[in-house]
């Protein structure tokens, strides 16, 4: 809300600087977001008086004027026809600058010297009128700078008003806050008016057919109104608020809305069929042309203000073009109403019409401020337009409006919530400064009636907030509560898992990314997911910003592949990234969404960055597998295994695996399918993996003991086997372990070889067997006999030979 300090001064004295006032308001919860200085866009323009006019000797259409500047008389050549001797006018002296940058110079016009220029409204950007010289009020001090004389200099605060403080959407509301904070009184505007003898009830009537939406409607009628441009003071007020001046009637309705917070509307009474007002709810599909000239299809249950035949305004939102006040208007009907806030909000949102009126109605106006507002406006219109105010106000009040009610404040709760000891006297002083009435008081409780405009104050806690606010947050001590032990939390374990993954991946050179949770719906097609894959059950956003961000992701892999594409564009070809986040599934059975915690990894390009002492090798499946092994190892995931053919449509069928702990599938790993790479336009092989962190966390062993350091030496035996290519490493390890020989401590694969000297379709696999006893040093003979049994059982069970 833009607040002109000059306007504010009409209602409360400001004896502090704008900066200090801004600080005070901010600390009261009315955050001043910016302070702007308004100055007229001209300089060197003075108030002057015409003391003589004679015709220009050499030009029929020009005049020679003598102008009294306050200290001397100067000659000015002028072409206007609306001036006479004695007029007070704006004079741009030699050296003056006008809006747009024009500088006034001494000149000779058709042989006559001109030492200045008389200006029109538009030339000074003080109005639209360019038909003649601007005529200033007779009483302006001649010789003074025009800007100062008109009071055009101003300071404007942009105040961020929180949604609860509808009372501060008015200058008077801000003035009340300033008054409460500075101890000054508020001066309320004058609403005394004089009416003629014509009873309004003989002119018009108001019928409310929807009292739930419009519980109260007030009308006044003014006759013989003369529509004209508004005077400068009114225009300046509106412009400081950011509104354009229209005419002396519309401007007054806006002025009073900003002044008092009550939106008003003026109808051209002669355009109202049957000369009456009917308030009803809209019919489905009804259309209406609003003041801005747009044809609106109204939502049902909007409030329609109608005449005897047709709608003339969308109640609380905007008037209609069919009853607009125009230059020819002479009778007006002024409306001040209370509309149901949520109905206005609903209508304004559906129509996309965030008008100043709707903004105030939906936040709740002062239910007791209607008469004051309509009287204030009638008085101002009568003053400015010479109209007559007809006798009486029509006040239809068929519905109920929540009004301020008495609130019991228990003094112990003030300290109980705020944590500062504030005396009862201080509490009472604060509440009274805010205009509240203390109806009863004893040692423990107060009975408080808030101001009717404070629609946000309905219960004890609201009063406590007011007390804290006015007492000053900076006066409240800062104390730590007593500490108690942390309770166990659901998040804890999985966060340990995530921390471990981050540690392992960082150590392996992978950088963490965070991608948007929403992606393009075609991601599931790009990943070639089969029609029955549950990851096709995406959660759709009903109002996405773009299609690119319109479904919640069901895999992490897609986001990482997109990261690769972009980084390729930025010139990176070696990429190691990982992400920890969620995927989201729509469970069509239960019609619920579910969220899964995942970690995903990706590598493409070189295994190591390009460096003088690193091999220039391309990364592959085993790079990522090593990381996954380290993670599972660090988390003590029991019995991990990697089973060929992950069964993931987006992975290479021969270079991928499912990751298991015992029989629980905890993730997958593999090279991305070439068809997927092709679809996405990725030109290099990529390996990806994903772990399901909810399952990993549930199987991980967080509290683990340790093995004692072996006391006796190990004995090693190496063997090279010759096997068919499809015999997997894990088969050898499994076969060795099948021997159940407890002295066999572990089996490692130290060499894999295919090629020269190895028959086609075969491979050589070197295994290292490690034997150890916990209670003695093994002898060669002992080891040899066990070892040869194990090797023999491997060759027999796998059908392989020793090389």
């Amino acid at each position: 809300m833009l607040v002109s300090l000059k306007w504010l001064r009409d209602y409360v004295d400001l004896e502090i600087s704008p900066q200090d006032l801004a600080g005070k308001l901010t600390m009261l919860g009315l955050e001043v977001e910016s302070i702007a200085s308004i100055r007229p866009d001209f300089s060197g323009v003075r108030v002057a008086r015409i003391t003589g006019i004679k015709p220009h000797p050499n030009a029929d259409k020009l005049l020679l004027c003598d102008i009294w500047t306050g200290d001397r008389t100067i000659p000015v050549v002028c072409g206007a026809t609306n001036i006479k001797v004695g007029d007070v006018v704006p004079l741009a002296l030699v050296g003056a600058t006008l809006p747009g940058g024009l500088t006034i110079k001494k000149s000779k016009i058709r042989g006559e010297v001109s030492e200045g220029m008389l200006c029109s409204e538009r030339e000074l950007l003080l109005g639209q009128d360019h038909s003649g010289i601007m005529l200033l009020p007779e009483d302006l001090p001649v010789g003074e700078e025009l800007g100062a004389a008109l009071g055009a200099d101003d300071t404007v605060f942009d105040i961020s008003v929180t949604p609860n403080r509808s009372d501060c959407l008015s200058i008077i509301g801000i003035a009340r806050e300033v008054a409460a904070a500075t101890g000054k009184p508020v001066r309320y505007p004058d609403t005394a008016l004089s009416e003629n003898d014509e009873d309004i009830n003989r002119i018009t009537s108001v019928t409310i057919e929807a009292p739930d939406l419009c519980p109260r409607y007030l009308a006044r009628v003014l006759k013989n109104v003369h529509i004209a441009p508004s005077p400068p003071w009114l225009r300046q007020r509106l412009e400081a608020f950011g509104l354009r001046s229209i005419n002396n009637v519309v401007d007054v309705t806006n002025f009073v809305m900003i002044e008092l917070g009550q939106p008003l509307h003026a109808f051209d009474f002669d355009q109202l069929a049957e000369g009456r007002i009917v308030v009803r709810r809209s019919q489905p599909g009804e259309t209406f042309v609003s003041l801005d000239g747009k044809k609106r299809v109204l939502p049902s249950d909007a409030i329609l203000i109608c005449d005897g035949k047709k709608p003339v305004a969308i109640g609380g939102v905007m008037g209609g073009i069919n009853s607009e006040v125009t230059d020819g208007t002479s009778v007006i009907l002024l409306e001040a109403a209370y509309f149901q806030p949520s109905s206005i909000r609903h209508t304004a949102r559906l129509l996309g019409m965030a008008t100043d009126a709707a903004f105030r109605f939906e936040r709740g106006i002062d239910p007791e401020g209607l008469i004051r507002a309509v009287d204030r406006a009638a008085k101002l219109i009568a003053d400015l337009s010479g109209g007559d105010i007809c006798k009486g106000v029509i006040d239809q009040h068929p519905g109920s409006i929540p009004v301020a009610r008495d609130i019991v404040l228990r003094l112990k709760n003030v300290e109980g919530i705020i944590g500062a000891s504030i005396s009862a006297e201080k509490v009472i002083k604060i509440l009274e400064a805010l205009g509240m009435e203390i109806k009863e008081a004893d040692d423990e409780t107060l009975l408080v009636t808030p101001l009717s405009s404070r629609v946000d104050i309905t219960q004890e806690i609201d009063l406590i907030e007011e007390i804290a606010r006015m007492y000053g947050y900076d006066m409240i001590p800062a104390t730590l509560p007593h500490i108690f032990a942390a309770s166990d939390s659901s998040g804890g374990r999985r966060i340990e898992t995530e921390t471990m993954i981050r540690r392992v991946m960082n150590g392996s050179g992978y950088t963490e990314v965070i991608n948007y949770s929403f992606i393009h719906p075609s991601s599931v097609d790009d990943l070639l997911l089969s029609s029955d894959d549950r990851r096709r059950n995406q959660v759709f956003i009903s109002n996405p910003l773009t299609e690119e961000q319109s479904v919640m992701r069901t895999t992490m892999v897609y986001s990482l592949l997109k990261n690769v594409l972009k980084n390729f564009d930025w010139g990176r070809s070696d990429i190691k990234i990982f992400e920890i986040g969620r995927t989201y599934l729509w469970e069509s059975q239960s019609k619920e969404s579910s969220e899964l915690n995942k970690a995903a990894f990706l590598i493409t390009g070189r295994r190591y960055e390009e460096r003088w002492n690193f091999d220039d090798e391309k990364s592959d499946f085993y790079d990522l597998k090593g990381c996954v092994e380290n993670i599972l190892d660090a988390l003590h995931v029991p019995a991990p295994s990697y089973r060929a053919a992950a069964g993931e449509s987006f992975l290479h069928p021969g270079k991928s695996c499912g990751i298991y702990s015992n029989e629980d599938r905890i993730g997958f790993l593999g090279e991305v399918h070439p068809d997927v790479l092709l679809r996405l336009g990725i030109s290099a092989p990529v390996t990806v993996g994903e772990l399901d962190l909810d399952i990993v966390t549930s199987v991980a062993i967080f509290k683990k003991g340790f093995y004692s350091i072996p006391k006796f030496p190990a004995v090693l035996r190496d063997v090279a086997f010759l096997a068919r290519r499809d015999v997997e490493a894990k088969d050898f390890v499994a076969a060795a372990q099948q021997s159940r020989q407890e002295l066999l401590e572990k089996v490692d694969i130290f060499d894999v070889y295919e090629g020269e000297n190895i028959p086609d379709g075969m491979k050589s696999l070197g295994l290292r067997f490690q034997y150890r006893s916990t209670d003695r040093t093994l002898t060669d003979d002992e080891v040899n006999s066990i070892h040869s049994r194990i090797v023999e059982s491997i060759t027999r069970s796998l059908g392989v030979t020793i090389r």
């Binding site: 955050e31 609860n164 944590g419 947050y473 108690f484 309770s487 050179g509 930025w570």
Partner: protein, 338 residues
């Protein structure tokens, strides 16, 4: 035979002087002390010495033997030292070449800031809770005292999934879920992703918040100030000035915005703090009695406070990042700096 010994000794002295290499000294050892060496030969010929002179001869021979042996050992030792010094002088690597370890990966700046904040609150006994990101309208709004058509919904430009589901616009619904599950005392923080329908240089449609909630008997606004001041001083430095000012959130009352003295300009006023000298860091407030009623807590017995802060904002201040979108573009040139 003694003169022979004498001349042998002179000969040895001479040869020891001329020997230079380890091989020459070893050759000397063999030449004099070996099984067929000159000294050994002399001793073997002791029979040719007159019997009365034999003890003296033997003694002298042994003395000379020990002398030669010691001399050779000494020269060899000196030689070893000088060889070592020579090799220390000549062996050189280029220590300015890069090392061999794989480059350490980077944590996302949001993760770093989150861990730091969670760590500070863990020290105050707060534990971590989480909640769904696809959230029921009830938890995101209704239970937090924000009914449909409430003007406060303007503060949340919401992504909807369907009539009753939204992408949560803040982490505050975790407060409700936690209180429904547990009885007081409650002391939790909840980091997570939140979503608002907004996208420009200072807004991304997804961002991160941390929510905090503390409920017990006798919790006050002064405690709120105490806990959050402690946090902000840990986060931004002990000398950081902190300011609490009244604000409005439907689910807290009294409510506060918490500012710190601008870390960019030190309070003089700059573009980042919009010339105010202060930076808005946290929203907070005393839990509204209606919220307690919504979860079945008695506001006459319990009180508490809640707070929420945006991680991106803190990361941007901490690292001087001016475009929030950088966090989510996966640009390694950006991410590898952390």
């Amino acid at each position: 035979m003694i003169p022979e010994l004498e001349s042998l000794r002179e000969q040895v002295d001479e040869e020891l002087k001329t020997a230079r290499t380890e091989a020459e000294f070893q050759a000397l050892r063999i030449r004099y002390l070996g099984r067929k060496g000159l000294l050994t030969g002399l001793l073997r010929n002791i029979a040719n010495v007159q019997p009365d002179q034999r003890p003296l001869f033997g003694k002298r021979c042994n003395e000379l033997k020990e002398f030669v042996s010691a001399k050779i050992d000494q020269h060899l030792a000196e030689l070893a030292v000088s060889e070592k010094e020579k090799s220390l002088r000549t062996e050189r690597i280029d220590v300015t070449l890069p090392g061999r370890a794989v480059r350490y990966g980077s944590l996302h700046p949001i993760t770093k800031v989150r861990d730091e904040i969670c760590g500070i609150f863990a020290g105050l006994g707060f534990s971590i809770e989480e909640g769904p990101e696809i959230e029921l309208d009830y938890y995101n709004f209704e239970a937090l005292n924000i009914p449909a058509d409430h003007p406060a919904r303007d503060m949340h430009d919401t992504f909807y999934v369907d009539e009753k589901r939204v992408l949560r616009t803040h982490t505050s619904p975790v407060e409700i879920r936690t209180m429904q599950k547990n009885s007081p005392p409650i002391r939790i923080i909840s980091p997570g992703k939140v979503y608002r329908r907004d996208s420009d240089i200072s807004h991304t449609p997804m961002f991160h918040q941390i929510e905090g909630l503390l409920v017990d008997k006798g919790i006050t606004l002064a405690n709120l100030k105490g806990v959050l001041t402690h946090f902000l001083k840990k986060m931004f430095g002990e000398e950081t000035a902190v300011r609490f000012r009244p604000s409005y959130f439907p689910f807290t009352e009294p409510s506060a915005e918490v500012d710190i003295r601008c870390v960019i300009c030190g309070g003089k006023g700059c573009r980042v703090c919009k010339q105010s000298g202060w930076l808005e860091i946290l929203g907070a407030g005393m839990t509204h009695p209606q919220v307690f009623k919504n979860v079945g807590y008695d506001p006459e017995i319990y009180s508490g406070f809640a707070f929420g802060l945006g991680l991106e904002r803190i990361a941007m201040l901490k690292y001087g990042i001016s475009d929030i979108r950088l966090f989510f573009e996966g640009d390694l040139r950006f991410l590898e700096q952390f």
